[in-house]
């Protein structure tokens, strides 16, 4: 990046320079997957119940992906998202928390998530730890704390707090409420990234931290806030998973960090920071989710599904590289 390579064409994610429409490659891939779905399972794929289940499945990781997009554009990485979500869900479903009712449970989940995120951010910004290591430590520790709090048991959401579960059972216009929560988070994330000084600083901090610092941006504070934001997203995701599964558990969100990071990368966000979009990440996530769905509908086993996902990541990144190379 530091070499003086003049590029004349802005890089587009995924399929390179096809047209001027951003994310066209990702949309094309989704359409392709839909065609595969229609061709292989015409009776199941396009049903409303299947589409709803795809969206519901995408919602939890989707919220986390929004936070992850911010962190990665800001030049970092957050490996702890799945574990922090699990910890939030456990903390919010302890008997003590549940006794205060659903509102407090939600606030608790959000606070625990944000708190864990801020701890990550503090270690990285002020403790000068490498993001990979700081959040890896949080991954392990948060998972352990969640196990300890729950005695490794799954904690049910009590009948009295069913309001939370209604997020997944109540439907508006055919879609469960949690899909709207997801959409809201995406919309707010998009606005934050594209229309506020916070978003601008995120791109600056990730793209060239030294330039950002010399331009008067408080890089360390901003970095800490980015991880706090990612933690908040984990808290929201914890509420969604409690709604979907009616439980809080230390096993929730296992390997979510990998799915979220993969979605962000497929969406065209640079892992080195400074460039990326929320929409791209969400499309990347939908591609992942639809693949999962197709494999389930066709009765294929999960191992093949993992292989397919691995291939998708490789292909997506190669395509982006090609775009980058032809743009040079």
């Amino acid at each position: 990046m530091t070499e003086a390579t003049p590029t004349s064409v802005a890089k587009r994610p995924f399929l390179g320079k096809i047209g001027e429409v951003p994310h066209l490659g990702l949309v094309a891939a989704l359409v392709l997957l839909a065609i595969v779905g229609l061709a292989t399972r015409p009776e199941n794929f396009a049903t409303s119940s299947n589409l709803v289940s795809i969206l519901a499945l995408a919602s939890t990781i989707g919220v986390i992906t929004v936070g992850m997009t911010f962190v990665i554009i800001g030049g970092g990485i957050d490996l702890s998202v799945g574990a922090v979500m699990a910890l939030s869900s456990v903390w919010a479903t302890t008997l003590a928390t549940q006794s205060y009712g659903p509102a407090v449970m939600i606030v608790c989940a959000l606070l625990v998530g944000t708190g864990a995120g801020l701890v990550n951010g503090f270690l990285i910004s002020y403790g000068r730890m490498v993001p990979f290591i700081a959040t890896l430590a949080m991954l392990v520790a948060a998972r352990g704390l969640a196990q300890r709090m729950s005695n490794q048991r799954t904690q049910l959401v009590q009948q009295a707090n069913n309001a939370i579960v209604e997020l997944s059972t109540t439907r508006v216009l055919g879609l469960p409420l949690l899909v709207y929560v997801f959409a809201l988070v995406v919309a707010l994330g998009w606005i934050l990234l594209n229309r506020t000084t916070f978003g601008r600083r995120t791109y600056a901090v990730g793209g060239n931290p030294e330039a950002a610092r010399l331009a008067g941006i408080d890089v360390r504070r901003h970095t800490m806030l980015l991880y706090g934001l990612s933690g908040l997203c984990c808290g929201i995701a914890a509420v969604l998973i409690m709604a979907r599964t009616t439980t809080g558990s230390s096993t929730h969100g296992d390997l979510y960090e990998l799915d979220a990071i993969a979605a962000v990368i497929i969406g065209g966000t640079l892992l080195t920071g400074g460039r990326g979009t929320i929409i791209g990440s969400i499309l990347g996530l939908l591609i992942f989710t639809v693949i999962t769905n197709l494999f389930i509908l066709n009765g294929l086993n999960t191992s093949d599904q993992l292989i397919a996902k691995g291939l998708i990541i490789v292909v997506a990144v190669l395509m982006q590289r090609r775009g980058a190379l032809t743009g040079t």
Binding site: P6, S8, L214, G274
Partner: protein, 518 residues
């Protein structure tokens, strides 16, 4: 074309080397001829093309035109490895050693002695010890981790590495920069020993007296061209300096504001002091730096790379921790808190434009507005129309070409990129601008425009502190000049009272001569 018989051919001949970078011709027809067993010095001011030339020699860059001959045979140095195979080793200023490996492992890095992938430690250490002894430094233990060695010993290790490749030609880029005086003497002794064995050395240094001491012949570069090939090193310093400085490009400097003679005693004093620096010190880099800059005044810091000038600027800006005091309009700058510095009204155009100032992937507009995001926002919400209007205004005011605010800034030429960096600070309330090498990598035409912009800023009452390696630039643009040498301000004078020779003298005199000059 070169019909010279191989046995009398020089060890190395470079002919008509041209190297272009986007927007600049870094080398524009350079010739170099090095004989076996000689110390050949390469001289030139910063930006003259020395680094580019040695990068071509070491295989890191490819020339766009010209040929390289070794013993009369044309060669292509496609990669650093290829250059190494031809017997050309380069010791860079920032030594490229691996701190975590041992001395011996570093010396044999890239051609390790191994059987079936297992390193032969005994043999490695023996070879390393032999090479170190050959350099007269058998006391450096081959098994020590390089990170624990002092700079002088690291230099020896680098040289041993060069010899391990059976180098016929060793390029040394400012080898004395990191060394104390007695260590330099030792370096020279080693250089004499290896040249006595027939190895040629290309020696780059800013210290002219070193060149007289160690050099056999001198090649002088200026603005990417050779102005003298193979002069004897005994050439009088004055002549060498004029070769380095005499230019064919005329710098066009804007006129200084007419300070009427009759009022000249009072007027500069009337203007308020914007910046006051007291006893600024970073141990080992610069010490006890004190000066002030008044509103509307351009103060230039002249000094060599490594003299501490850039570090002074960074410390003034609060980007580098230092002891001492920096006051802007009487308010203290906090070390490490650039956010506060910007709020107080400072702006910095740093030395490394791409690494320190620009978001290369982002648009010109976003680069311009980076330092003033709160100015174009309300409660954190970007006022995109206001931002776009301001960017468009500044692009027009500075004549940034092409005038497209949405273009990625990396597609602009160096001069226009620099204008974008300056534009960032052309907002109301700026009190002090710190400009570190504002015209590096900028072509002549764009330079004149940048000079005009800087002068216009000063006329508007902004205080300017300018660092440049190019003495004419400092003399032409600044009102007052501070000469920095080895971390101290050694001279201060109005620019009109100085000339290029005088400044170069002040800047280059070595430590031991210092007392006699001042």
């Amino acid at each position: 074309m070169p019909a010279s018989p191989p046995d009398t051919a020089p060890l190395l001949a470079m002919r008509g080397i041209v190297k272009r970078f986007p927007g600049v011709r870094a080398l524009d027809g350079v010739d170099l001829e090095v004989r076996a067993g000689e110390v050949h010095c390469l001289l030139g001011q910063n930006g003259a093309g020395k680094s580019t030339l040695i990068k071509i020699l070491s295989g890191a860059h490819q020339p766009d035109e010209g040929e390289v001959l070794l013993n009369g045979e044309p060669v292509r140095l496609a990669t650093p490895t290829a250059a190494m195979k031809q017997g050309i080793a380069t010791i860079y200023q920032e030594l490229d050693l691996v701190d975590g490996l041992s001395v011996a492992e570093n010396i044999l890095l890239g051609h390790e002695r191994a059987s079936f992938g297992f390193t032969r430690r005994g043999e490695t250490n023996r070879i390393a010890a032999d090479l170190l002894r050959r350099l007269g430094h058998g006391e450096i233990p081959p098994a020590t981790e390089v990170g624990r060695l002092p700079p002088a010993a690291k230099q020896i290790v680098s040289m041993a590495r060069a010899l391990s490749h059976d180098a016929r030609l060793i390029v040394m880029d400012e080898p004395s920069a990191a060394l104390a005086h007695d260590e330099v003497a030792n370096l020279f002794r080693i250089i004499r020993e290896i040249t006595a064995q027939g190895v040629a050395v290309v020696y780059i240094s800013h210290r002219l007296e070193e060149i007289r001491e160690i050099g056999d012949r001198v090649t002088v570069l200026k603005d990417g061209r050779t102005v003298a090939v193979g002069l004897p090193a005994t050439t009088p310093t004055g002549q060498v300096v004029s070769l380095m400085t005499g230019r064919d490009v005329e710098y066009v400097f804007p006129p200084r504001p007419a300070v009427p003679e009759e009022r000249s005693e009072e007027r500069p004093e009337e203007r308020p002091e914007v910046l006051r620096v007291e006893g600024l010190t970073v141990p080992g880099v610069f010490a006890d730096v004190s000066f002030s800059v008044r509103a509307g005044e351009i103060v230039g810091l002249a000094g060599l790379v490594g003299s501490g000038r850039s570090e002074i600027i960074e410390a003034v800006y609060g980007a580098r921790r230092a002891s001492g005091r920096v006051l802007l309009d009487g308010r203290a700058v906090r070390p490490g808190d650039t956010t506060r510095s910007v709020r107080l009204g400072m702006g910095l155009a740093p030395e490394e434009r791409k690494a320190q100032a620009l978001l290369l992937d982002q648009s010109v507009a976003r680069n311009i507005t980076l330092a003033g995001l709160t100015r174009y926002s309300r409660f954190g919400w970007m006022d995109r129309r206001g931002e776009a209007a301001e960017a468009a205004r500044l692009i027009e005011a500075l004549d940034i070409r092409p005038p497209d605010p949405r273009r990625p800034v990396k597609t602009l030429s160096g001069g226009n990129q620099q204008k974008a960096v300056l534009a960032r600070w052309l907002v109301e309330g700026r009190r002090l601008l710190l400009l570190d090498e504002p015209t590096r990598g900028v072509d002549v035409g764009a330079r004149a425009e940048l000079y005009a912009v800087i002068r216009r800023l000063a006329d508007d009452g902004v205080a300017v502190l300018l660092v440049s390696s190019e003495v004419p630039e400092v003399l032409g643009l600044a009102d007052r000049v501070l000469v920095v040498r080895e971390g101290r301000i050694v001279h201060e004078a109005p620019a009109v009272d100085l000339d290029e020779h005088r400044v170069l003298d002040l800047v280059m005199v070595s430590t031991n001569e210092e007392s006699r000059v001042d």
